[in-house]
């Protein structure tokens, strides 16, 4: 596989180059347009010149505008806070359930796991109508509770943990049981410290689900200071015009933050995710 002939190697690099331009085309255009005043947005697009990709009158108005005028900073903080708490609470609660499904024997286990699989299959959008009226009855609308609590229990993450714990060595559990630890102690002292990879990957799944959610925050947030990032992104407009440069500036920030989190943890993320695929 590695002694490739010269022209095959060139072909592969060419192929990679094409794929990279496709991936980067929208992102670069957004980055460049976020440094341009609104009127220049479409000015340099046709004909395609170098100017299309290098902003002529470079301004930071867009970034200043969104953080000062639209208080975009609060939306970013809201999203980070909501995603952070969801990850923390989600990892612990779903890990416990995953471990129980992997290691314990208890009545109607297949039924409960069937429910977990069903909710893993039935996506969020399908139950948002009734869940929304439930939030009204609980009185949680326009509070962090509505944004966080319903998305903490997650079928897929329980499934991820179960997959991982199926392969967890039993002798480790036996030895700590002999040392007199009860299950709770075993879980915290023995199991969790050794499941760093799956915790990180399911943490990233929870983070991304929460970070990218759009329909649910639209329903349950009311006041401006409760807005999450995806909603703020869509609200930079008056009745008559869309402020595209602000939208681009916010989009850049909206996808930079998850990248900065995923890239360093890329190995764990890939490992954790793909374990669901192969070892089913």
């Amino acid at each position: 596989m590695n002694r490739l002939k010269k022209n095959v190697k060139i072909l592969i690099y060419l192929f990679h180059a094409v794929l990279l331009t496709i991936v980067f085309l929208p992102l670069v255009f957004a980055l460049v347009s976020s440094f341009r005043p609104l009127e220049d947005l479409y000015k340099y697009v046709r004909p395609l010149t170098l100017e299309t990709f290098i902003p002529k009158n470079f301004t930071l108005d867009a970034y200043k505008d969104i953080f000062v005028k639209y208080r975009f900073g609060t939306s970013v903080m809201n999203s980070i806070f909501v995603a952070g708490v969801t990850v923390m609470a989600g990892v612990v609660i779903n890990a416990l359930a995953g471990f129980a499904f992997a290691k314990f024997r208890f009545p109607c286990k297949r039924l409960l796991f069937g429910i977990v699989l069903l909710t893993f299959m039935v996506p969020f959008e399908l139950l948002s109508i009734n869940l929304y009226s439930m939030m009204i009855d609980f009185g949680w609308v326009d509070t962090f509770l509505a944004l966080i609590v319903p998305s903490v229990p997650n079928g897929m993450v329980i499934f991820l943990f179960r997959q991982y714990y199926l392969g967890f060595p039993d002798y480790l559990l036996e030895t700590s049981k002999i040392d007199g630890l009860n299950w709770w102690g075993i879980f915290w002292r023995v199991v969790m410290p050794n499941s760093k990879a799956v915790c990180i990957s399911s943490g990233l799944v929870l983070f991304l689900n929460q970070w990218e959610s759009f329909l649910w925050p639209v329903l349950v947030t009311r006041s401006e200071n409760m807005q999450t990032i995806q909603i703020a992104l869509n609200s930079f407009r008056t009745q008559y015009t869309k402020e595209w440069n602000n939208i681009f500036a916010a989009s850049i920030i909206a996808f930079l933050i998850p990248i900065l989190i995923i890239l360093p943890l890329q190995k764990f993320y890939v490992e954790g995710i793909t374990s669901t695929g192969s070892k089913e």
Partner: protein
């Protein structure tokens, strides 16, 4: 693991606190004066000074 646990605890605490603070903020404020929520769009928001006028007028 202790570290992870403690971070988690304080995060959940702050979440609970902000949620309660927000709720009782509304309760105690509604206690003394009526609060009206007006749903508008940006172009009508421009004339919100007119709404302030009314607040002053009522206080008199």
């Amino acid at each position: 693991m202790k570290k992870l646990l403690s971070i988690l605890l304080c995060i959940c605490l702050t979440a609970g606190l902000t949620a309660c603070r927000k709720n009782n903020e509304d309760i105690q404020e509604a206690g003394n004066s009526v609060e009206l929520n007006f749903l508008v769009m940006p172009d009508i928001e421009k004339v919100s000074d007119v709404f302030k006028e009314y607040e002053k007028k009522i206080q008199l």
